[in-house]
């Protein structure tokens, strides 16, 4: 599902075109979407957004996207309209489309919702994971630790995203997962890199290990506690950043 910018923060997104109470897509289980050319382009752009190929506020010029994806102009246009409705992109009359920015308040809200929903998914993952999945998540936590020790920021960030996505995939609550997938398309650290430097915070590395271990031993209570604490750290990190420079 997705929430239009108008629902989130009327006026605060800074886009004059953001309509209040705009279209909200349903947080339901995704039906098998026909892979029309429009949907293919839309999905390609969503992936590029999640990977950080496009930066916040970057202009998205139709002609460039036509070249990049090899898609018809009409499909690119419709895809941008769709993504504007989803709140990923904003379109302004006579100014074209750009990647929608994110306010700090919005980032904090997203972190709070992630904390609530990933508590659900991690608990279920701890119960439902196969032996292979348990081994894989533990290995992923170790790889995160290695990347941290090597100071390899790029790898660390990629593996971090993969870590959380893997847990959501193991869970089985598709409704929660779709909401989290949507949030993954606007990774907080791309919009606010400062609070996440220097990378990586030791607490984060330890938290991933603790979460993975709890999944490994099929302990849903411990998994949920570890995840809640991990994402509370994120919320607090963003709050401190919000109040930087003030008393």
């Amino acid at each position: 599902m997705s929430i239009s910018p108008g629902v989130l923060h009327p006026g605060r997104s800074g886009a004059p075109g953001a309509e209040a109470g705009g279209r909200v897509r349903h947080a339901g289980r995704r039906r098998a979407l026909a892979t029309s050319p429009i949907e293919q382009v839309a999905e390609a752009i969503r992936t590029d957004l999640a990977d950080g190929t496009f930066s916040p506020h970057e202009r998205l010029v139709e002609a460039d996207l036509v070249d990049r994806y090899g898609a018809p102009r009409a499909a690119v246009r419709e895809a941008l309209i769709q993504l504007a409705a989803e709140g990923l992109v904003e379109r302004e009359p006579h100014r074209g489309a750009r990647v929608r920015g994110m306010s700090l308040a919005e980032a904090i809200e997203m972190a709070q919702v992630r904390r609530a929903l990933e508590s659900i998914t991690v608990r279920q993952a701890a119960v439902r994971a196969t032996p292979e999945q348990r081994a894989a998540i533990v290995a992923l936590a170790d790889a995160l630790c290695d990347a941290a020790n090597a100071g390899d920021v790029g790898t660390y960030l990629k593996l971090n995203a993969r870590f959380h996505r893997s847990i959501d995939a193991m869970a089985g609550n598709e409704t929660a997962r779709e909401i989290l997938v949507q949030f993954g398309r606007r990774p907080i650290d791309r919009f606010f890199p400062e609070p996440f430097r220097p990378i990586p915070p030791t607490a984060s590395v330890e938290a991933h290990k603790r979460i993975a271990a709890a999944i490994g031993t099929a302990d849903p209570v411990e998994a949920e506690a570890a995840m809640y604490e991990h994402l509370s750290d994120l919320v607090n990190l963003l709050r401190r950043f919000e109040h930087r420079g003030s008393e």
Binding site: V7, L8, H26, R29, P93, G96, Q112, L117, I179
Partner: protein, 243 residues
């Protein structure tokens, strides 16, 4: 002087081929229709799995066939409607599995909202939530089922409002178009309402007292009843309880 990012083309928006005007009007007609249909879905005008016939919708909403067609496409992508090749469009049903998923997400997000409401509510707002709790109590005590259900919905909506959490409200708002009680009415009728009334009272008291942890705990417990009831059906293999 403010600087704008200027595209290397003349004439403003490089993405604008001049068709904006026509799209704008059709877009407005569609938006109005979508709002009306979603409202009707939320209010139970249509039953689960009820057929949605284009000609009927044209007449009901006094709109164009093109708008109805487009609306059904969008509603399908939103998960409110499903379409099959030979059987047209119908209001999408809800599996027990999905009901459980939604109940779990609601529990998590409404717990978040309850805590925030406790932290932020102003004195008048604290009185409002206490007042709503009493309304619920009265309706339940006097056996006024419909009034009880209405007040119940208002109670939860008020807490979300008080939380000020736009994203949580946005997500929870989408669930209102497909309320669980429409698809699985049993849990909402079978449980003695007084249990529920007590829970609402404790939630309201915690919010009024500014007790963040208490509000979260009470809301979590309240919505756990629904989750556990639905899981109970699942465990007993009752996918269509009450039928």
């Amino acid at each position: 002087m403010r600087s704008y990012d200027v595209e290397p083309t003349v004439g403003g928006d490089p993405n604008d081929d001049g068709g904006g005007g026509t799209r704008g009007r059709a877009g407005a007609v569609l938006a109005i229709l979508m709002t009306a249909i979603r409202r009707d879905l939320a209010e139970g005008v249509y039953h689960p799995r009820e057929r949605l016939v284009e000609a009927d919708l044209v007449e009901r909403y006094g709109t164009t066939r093109a708008a109805v067609r487009e609306a059904l496409i969008q509603l399908t992508s939103e998960g409110l409607v499903e379409r099959s090749p030979n059987r047209g469009a119908r209001v999408r049903g809800m599996s027990l599995e999905e009901a459980i998923e939604i109940a779990e997400v609601r529990r998590a997000l409404e717990t978040l909202c309850a805590g925030l409401a406790a932290a932020k509510a102003t004195p008048p707002e604290r009185l409002r939530i206490l007042g709503l709790s009493k309304t619920l109590q009265a309706a339940a005590g006097e056996g006024r089922v419909e009034d009880y259900l209405t007040a119940n919905a208002e109670f939860h909506a008020l807490i979300q409002d008080l939380s000020g959490h736009a994203i949580a409200q946005g997500i929870l708002g989408t669930f209102r178009h497909r309320p669980i009680d429409r698809f699985f009415p049993q849990p909402f009728r079978a449980r003695p309402p007084m249990v529920s009334v007590d829970q609402h009272e404790r939630i309201a008291a915690a919010i009024a007292a500014g007790d963040v942890e208490g509000a979260e705990r009470e809301m979590h417990e309240h919505l756990s009843d629904l989750v556990e009831t639905l899981r109970g059906y699942e465990e007993r293999g009752e996918t269509r309880p009450g039928t």
